[in-house]
Amino acid sequence: MPLAADMSTELRETVAAARTAGRRLTIVGGGSKGFYGRAAQGEPLHVGGHRGILNYEPTELVLTARGGTPLAEVEAVLAAQGQMLAFEPPHFGPGATLGGAVACGLSGPRRPYAGAVRDFVLGVKVLTGRGEILRFGGQVMKNVAGYDLSRLMAGALGTLGVLLEVSLKVLPRPAAEVTLVQEHADAREAIALMNQWAAKPLPLSAACFDGHLLHVRVSGAVSAVQAARNRIGGERVEQGAAWWERLREHAPPFFAGERPLWRLSLPAACPPLDLSGKWLVDWGGAQRWLRSEEPAEKIRAAAAAAGGHATLFRGGDRTGEVFHPLAPGVMALHRRLKAAFDPDSILNPGRMYREY
């Protein structure tokens, strides 16, 4: 496959033809996140060939690339300049693309301290369900001209449009990074501790508790990392970067097997919820993974009562609702927004909610 190719004309024609013929399309980049969301319907629209980094100015902290550009390529180019995607997007497979990462809206361990994928989106070029190619946002840090339709694309699962180009804010890699590990018997205590640290001016960049070990990462200037290490305590993990990468990619044994995997997004300091199953607490308490056979309604009710929401991340019934049900007023806004971008509902129909 060529390293760079502009397929926007073909893609636009395909979408326009599908619209005319009333055909539905399922957008496929590298196929690494096909498991996510509700089961796909429609003919595949392959966007992986639409690739290439279009602009990267390290001193501007901005990178622009086509949606099909492999995430690994983007990360390698940034690493060569000592920079990174600070939201640490999961790949979940070798073919992961930039467009897929943004469309799925998933962020890795650094998220609570650095921001989510949507926080780094500066601009997009998007192919809507009308077959129109539109640009929103731009390549500058601050831009409030018109509605922010570029951040809206992050996590929209391609249901509003095909991401042809994305401009992202990038950040310098920290000069130093250290991962520490401590033993804790009790989740309540570990969650409280992670939140105590987060309320102090410590250079935290990740914190995870697996029921037994509490891993915490600190990043920044060499002296700051050393000082934080002394204040937090614990053993230094030798292969710290690799440890977080494995967590981000769901490589630890916790994620293996067929039991449904739930993602609960909760207020960070929320005490452990009374739901049976195995837990893994990430994002300093704000993202909790649960392997559980409990009924969906029970899990969702518990998450909602705590001020958060629950997603059936992997496994289980992918034809039912996998994302947390929306309040009727919010669902009405979703339906109308979907119609504003994709009036015939041809892009990734039913991928987010059954209704559209």
């Binding site: 001193t59 501007e60 998220r111 640009r135 922010d148 700051a224 929306l326 007023g329």
Partner: protein
């Protein structure tokens, strides 16, 4: 920038509307006499003034709901207003509409120091949140220059920035949840108490939507731990180019300062005269670079920044000796607008953003335009994120001068678009930059904005006529399209 909003056709039955509003609210909360309405005739963009049909000051969500339902039923436009500090006319009333003040929603509902969030009403002032969080060692990071007065509801509506957003982000990065009312009066919650919410990121969409999509009635913001130490360095340069190069050097060295601000000579002198910040008045440019974090980190980075700046030919480098001096250095920058206001009868504040590397050429071109129009321009900007605030000095009492200022301002914005930037970094489009939206966006993109507006407000009654121009207006403006730095007809003279 543009002609004010067209006067509405004298439609609505004012007496009937006022009577109906009085059935929903106490008499003192419904204003309709011209002298009572005067305080609401404009916001921070004082060049445009318009009395609303009536102004209302509810203090419960149920009252706001009832007002919206009434206006929706009667097809009366509604313009929401916080403290009225918008610099783009976002809160400019409509002659045929109701001005909805949220000033009475000024309660801090809950500070949660453990989860590090604050839940507040929309009329709470930006600075008041940080003050309330102070005992817990926490603060709310976005700090627009107007933070003493501006309210959080307005901050969300405008996606307000500030001098620290290079490191800590804009309002959109610091808000977790908003409760808002649709024009039909239905309450919806966007975002959650967690870090994200299911479905589309409507919270991101609401930030910066300038009161066009909903009326904000409650905001939950993130609080951050106060950095252990903040230190500011001041560097002086003989040329703007050197200062611009220093900015690029600092960023490419992997340092993300908490703030990185630049001022040109005219702005330096005005600020120094006003607040005696200790600025070198013979410098062509100064940089203020704030570093914050742990004590060790700040010490390490100050040394790094000093070396980088010295290598760019700085004529002077000062580190604030104590907190009082740090605040004095910032006082000059934060008072730059009023300082310029002292040396000219009137000034017009612009807000374009450009890729940082284009800074020297953009400033050169602004100087040329300034000479061409015979209007002085002082430059103050958030150098770290390329957000320019050229201030055009003028005298509104001189016939025709405001029109020339607007034309010059329009050309500066078009210049920003031409180099790959945007017409507004943080002040919003409002009524001010609506013509320049025709330059930045294609007709199809503007249609998409209108479609999004309709998804929230089918009747088009919330703050109508702002932000997104109609196709007809763009045709009248006669904009040529600038895309990717290229004009379709570069040989042609531009207006």
């Amino acid at each position: 920038m543009n002609a004010p909003m067209p006067d509405a056709v004298p439609g609505p039955d004012k007496d009937g509307l006022v009577a109906a509003l009085r059935r929903l609210l106490p008499a003192e909360a419904v204003l309709h006499e011209p002298e009572e309405l005067r305080p609401y005739e404009c916001d921070g963009l004082t060049a445009y003034r318009q009395l609303p049909l009536a102004a209302v000051l509810p203090d419960t969500v149920a009252q706001v709901q009832a007002i919206l339902r009434l206006c929706h039923e009667r097809k009366v436009p509604v313009v929401a207003r916080g403290a009225g500090t918008s610099l783009s006319g976002g809160a400019l009333p409509r002659a045929d509409g109701v001005l909805l003040s949220l000033a009475r929603f000024n309660r801090i509902l809950h500070i949660d120091p453990v989860n590090r969030v604050a839940r507040v009403e929309p009329g709470v002032r930006n600075l008041a949140i940080s003050q309330a969080a102070e005992p817990h060692g926490l603060y709310y990071a976005p700090d627009p220059s107007s933070q003493i007065a501006c309210t959080i509801g307005g901050n969300v509506a405008e996606n307000a920035g500030g001098v620290h957003c290079l490191k800590y982000g804009l309002t959109v990065h610091n808000v977790l949840r908003v409760r808002m009312l649709t024009m039909e009066g239905e309450q919806v919650t966007l975002g959650s108490e967690a870090l994200d919410a299911p479905g589309y990121d409507l919270l991101a969409l609401l930030n910066g939507s300038e009161g066009m999509l909903g009326v904000i009635v409650e905001v939950t913001v993130k609080l951050l731990p106060r950095p252990e130490r903040a230190q500011v360095v001041l560097a002086a340069f003989d040329t703007i180019e050197q200062a611009g190069a220093a900015v690029a050097r600092i960023i490419s060295a992997g340092i993300v300062p908490a703030g990185l601000e630049m001022m040109d000579n005219l702005a330096i002198r005005a600020a120094e005269d006003f607040v005696h910040a200790g600025y070198p008045t013979d410098a062509q440019a100064i940089l203020l670079c704030e570093l914050d974090g742990t004590n060790e980190e700040v010490s390490e980075q100050i040394l790094q920044v000093r070396d980088l700046i010295a290598a760019c030919g700085a004529t002077e480098f000062r580190t604030a000796r104590d907190e009082a001096e740090r605040l004095r250095f910032w006082a000059g920058r934060k008072a730059a607008f009023p300082a310029v206001g002292r040396i000219t009868p009137d000034y017009y504040c612009m807000d374009g953003t450009i890729p940082r590397r284009r800074l020297p050429e953009v400033l050169r071109r602004i100087a040329e335009l300034s000479a061409e129009y015979g209007l002085a321009v002082a430059n103050v900007f958030h150098a770290g994120d390329g957000n320019l605030h050229p201030l055009i000095l003028y005298d509104a009492n001189k016939p025709g001068e405001l029109e020339r200022v607007e034309e010059l301002g329009g050309r500066i914005l078009e210049l920003c678009v031409a180099v790959g930037g945007t017409i507004t970094g943080e002040h919003g489009v409002g009524v001010e930059k609506i013509n320049q939206m025709c330059v930045q966006f294609t007709a199809a993109e503007l249609r998409q904005f209108h479609a999004v507006k309709r998804a929230f407000d089918l009747a088009g009654l919330l703050n109508p006529g702002k932000v997104v121009p109609t196709a007809q207006r763009c045709a009248e403006f006669g904009a040529m399209h600038v895309r990717g730095g290229e004009l379709p007809f570069p040989e042609l003279e531009r207006f």
